[in-house]
Amino acid sequence: MPENTKVICITCPKGCRLDVTREGDTILKVDNCGCKRGEEYVKAELADPRRMVATTVKVHGGVHPLLPVYTAKPFPKPRIRELLDALSKVELKTPVAMGDVVIKDALGTGIDILASREMKPAAG
C-alpha cells in the first residue's frame, strides 16, 4: 500500500512543503518541489536523517562552568538522545582549545564531538 507523507524541504530558505508517496523504503513520487533539490532532500531525509547537534559539557576552572560542544558532522537523528546522555557525563578541566576532541568516534558513529571554543583557566 503506497502511503503519503509530508516533508518540508530545508535545502534552501523557501521551505517547500513536499508531498511524498512511498511504499516501504521506496519513494514513488515527490510532488510540490520548487526545484529538483527537493527530491534529493527527501531521499536522504527518509533513508538516514541526520542533524548537527550542539550542547554543553561540564568544565572546571574556567570563567564559566560549561563548555559548548558540537558534532563534527551531522549525527544520526535517532541516536541524539543517547549522545546527549553520554555528553552529560563528561567533565573537563581547563585549558581547552577550540576544536579539541571531547569524545572520539561518539557511539561508534565515526563522528567526533568537538569543543566549540577555547576555555582558559580563569585568572585568580
Binding site: 521551505g15 566549540s116 571554543r117
Partner: protein, 425 residues
C-alpha cells in the same frame, strides 16, 4: 587594557559587528584601535548561541556561534586591537569623548578620532508586548534563558510555553528539550512563522513541539511563580477570538517577540535614529548623522545572518579608519533612499554617489507583507528604473539584498532621492 587617552578608532561592543569593525580599522590604516566591552570576554551574544548555522557565507563552514566568534577574537588580538573588558560605557558625546566605568579602572574618559557604535540589539520584553496578568517569577526573554542554560549552567524552569516563533525561541525550544524540560507550546500571533523554516523543522517538528499560529498569551497566571498561561486565538487584527481560550499549565514563559537595535548611547552622542529600523540613519559607509561616528551590525538594523553583520562591520571599520586618519569630513552629495511599495525599510538610508565610482553599493531591505510568488525588487528614480532583480518570493523574515551597480553612477549622482519597491512580476 587601554593605556592611551586617545585612539584613532574606538569601537563600543565586542560582538561580531564590533570585532569586524576593529579588524577592518587596523587593516585600513588606523594606528590604534580599542574595543570597549561590558562582558568579561569578547564575542557578544555569539557565545551563548551554541547551535550551528554560523559562517556558511564567510567561511563556507557550518560553525557553532562560539567558534565563529573565536575566529574573529583571535584575528582582532593578532592584528593588535586592544580590548577593554568588564567595562561599561556610560556616556558618549558628539565630539567622541567616551566615559567608562569599571571595577578596576573606576571612571575614565577616552577620546576617539573616529567612533564605531556596535552595541547590537536587545530583546523586546514583557512590558513592550503588554502581556496582562499577574507578575510572577518565570517570565523571561528567550535570550536571557539562553545565556543561563548555555553559559551559566542554570535551568530556568521545567515546563515551558514560548511566545513568538522567532529563531531564538525555536532554538531554545530544542535546547530546553535537550536539557530535559518539556516545551508545551509555541504561540505565534502572526499567521506565518517569523523565524526560518529550517528551525521550524529541526527545532520544533523533530521534537513534536506544537506551534500554534495566530495565537497569543491572553493572561499570565500565578502569584510567586508562573502556574499557567491562558492562550487565545486571534483574528487578522490580533483581536482575541472569544471562546478560544485555553489554560496551559507551565512554570515558565519565554518571550521571543523581536529584537530592537540598542541605541541608548547613540542618542547621547546626538545620532539621529530612523523610526523604521530603530537604528541610526546611515550612509553606505555606515556613517551616522554625526560626523566621525559610525555604526556596525545589529545596532543599525537586525540582520538575519551573523555573516552579514561581519560584512557590515568591515565596511564600517574601514570607513572609521579613513576618517580617523584624514580627520576631515568631505562634503559629499548624499542621495536619500526611500521605502516604496511593500518595503518596510532600507539600509543604508543615504548613499554617496561617489562610492559608486569604486564598487557596487549594497542595499538591504525588509518587506512589510509576505508575497509567495515571484517579485521584482526595483530601484527607481522617479518613474525611471535604475536597477532591479528578481526574487522567487518575499517574506518579512528574510532580508533582501540588492546592489546599486557601478554602471548606474550617472543616474544616481544626478538624483536627489531613489525609491526601492517590491512588486509582483
Amino acid at each position: 587594557m587601554a593605556n592611551k587617552e586617545t585612539y584613532d578608532v574606538v569601537v563600543i561592543g565586542a560582538g561580531p559587528g564590533g570585532l569586524a569593525a576593529a579588524i577592518a580599522a587596523m587593516q585600513n590604516g588606523a594606528r590604534d584601535v580599542l574595543i570597549i566591552e561590558r562582558d568579561l570576554e569578547p564575542g557578544g551574544i555569539l557565545l551563548q548561541c551554541i547551535h550551528n548555522g554560523f559562517g556558511l557565507e564567510i567561511f563556507k563552514q557550518d560553525l557553532p556561534g562560539p567558534s565563529y566568534a573565536q575566529k574573529f577574537i583571535d584575528d582582532a588580538i593578532s592584528s593588535g586591537v586592544e580590548l577593554l573588558l568588564d567595562t561599561m560605557v556610560l556616556d558618549i558625546t558628539p565630539d567622541r569623548r567616551i566615559f567608562t566605568a569599571s571595577r578596576k579602572g573606576g571612571i575614565r574618559e577616552i577620546k576617539a578620532r573616529a567612533l564605531v557604535l556596535a552595541m547590537g540589539c536587545r530583546e523586546r520584553t514583557r512590558a513592550q508586548v503588554r502581556l496582562p496578568g499577574t507578575r510572577p517569577a518565570g517570565v523571561y526573554t528567550a535570550g536571557t534563558a539562553q545565556r543561563w542554560v548555555n553559559v551559566e549552567g542554570y535551568m530556568p524552569g521545567k515546563k515551558f510555553v514560548i511566545l513568538g516563533s522567532g529563531d531564538i525561541g525555536m532554538i531554545m525550544a530544542r535546547r530546553l528539550t535537550f536539557e530535559g524540560a518539556k516545551v508545551e507550546r509555541v504561540l505565534e500571533v502572526m499567521p506565518f512563522l517569523t523565524g526560518l523554516t529550517r528551525n521550524y523543522v529541526q527545532c520544533l517538528l523533530d521534537y513534536d513541539i506544537e506551534l500554534q499560529l495566530q495565537h497569543t498569551v491572553k493572561r499570565i497566571i500565578g502569584n510567586k511563580r508562573v502556574e499557567a498561561i491562558e492562550a487565545v486565538a486571534v483574528d487578522e487584527k490580533w483581536e482575541p477570538i472569544p471562546g478560544s481560550e485555553e489554560i496551559i499549565p507551565c512554570d515558565t514563559l519565554l518571550l521571543s517577540v523581536g529584537l530592537i537595535p540598542e541605541n541608548e548611547l547613540s542618542r547621547k552622542a546626538g545620532v539621529i535614529l530612523d523610526p523604521l529600523t530603530a537604528g541610526p540613519f546611515v550612509d553606505d559607509r555606515f556613517e551616522t548623522s554625526v560626523p566621525g561616528v559610525f555604526a556596525a551590525g545589529n545596532v543599525v538594523h537586525v540582520y538575519d545572518l551573523v555573516d552579514w553583520v561581519t560584512q557590515a562591520g568591515f565596511v564600517s571599520g574601514k570607513a572609521a579608519a579613513l576618517y580617523a586618519v584624514e580627520q576631515e569630513h568631505k562634503a559629499e552629495k548624499k542621495i536619500l533612499i526611500c521605502s516604496g511599495e511593500n518595503v518596510h525599510h532600507v539600509v543604508p538610508q543615504h548613499v554617496c554617489a561617489d562610492s559608486l565610482k569604486g564598487a557596487d553599493i549594497k542595499l538591504q531591505l525588509r518587506v512589510k507583507q509576505p508575497v509567495e510568488t515571484a517579485v521584482w525588487v526595483e530601484v527607481r528614480k522617479g518613474a525611471n528604473l535604475v536597477s532591479r532583480r528578481a526574487e522567487r518570493y518575499a517574506r518579512p523574515g528574510e532580508m533582501i539584498t540588492l546592489r546599486l551597480p557601478v554602471k548606474a553612477y550617472d543616474e544616481v549622482q544626478s538624483a536627489d532621492e531613489l525609491t526601492v519597491a517590491v512588486v509582483k512580476r
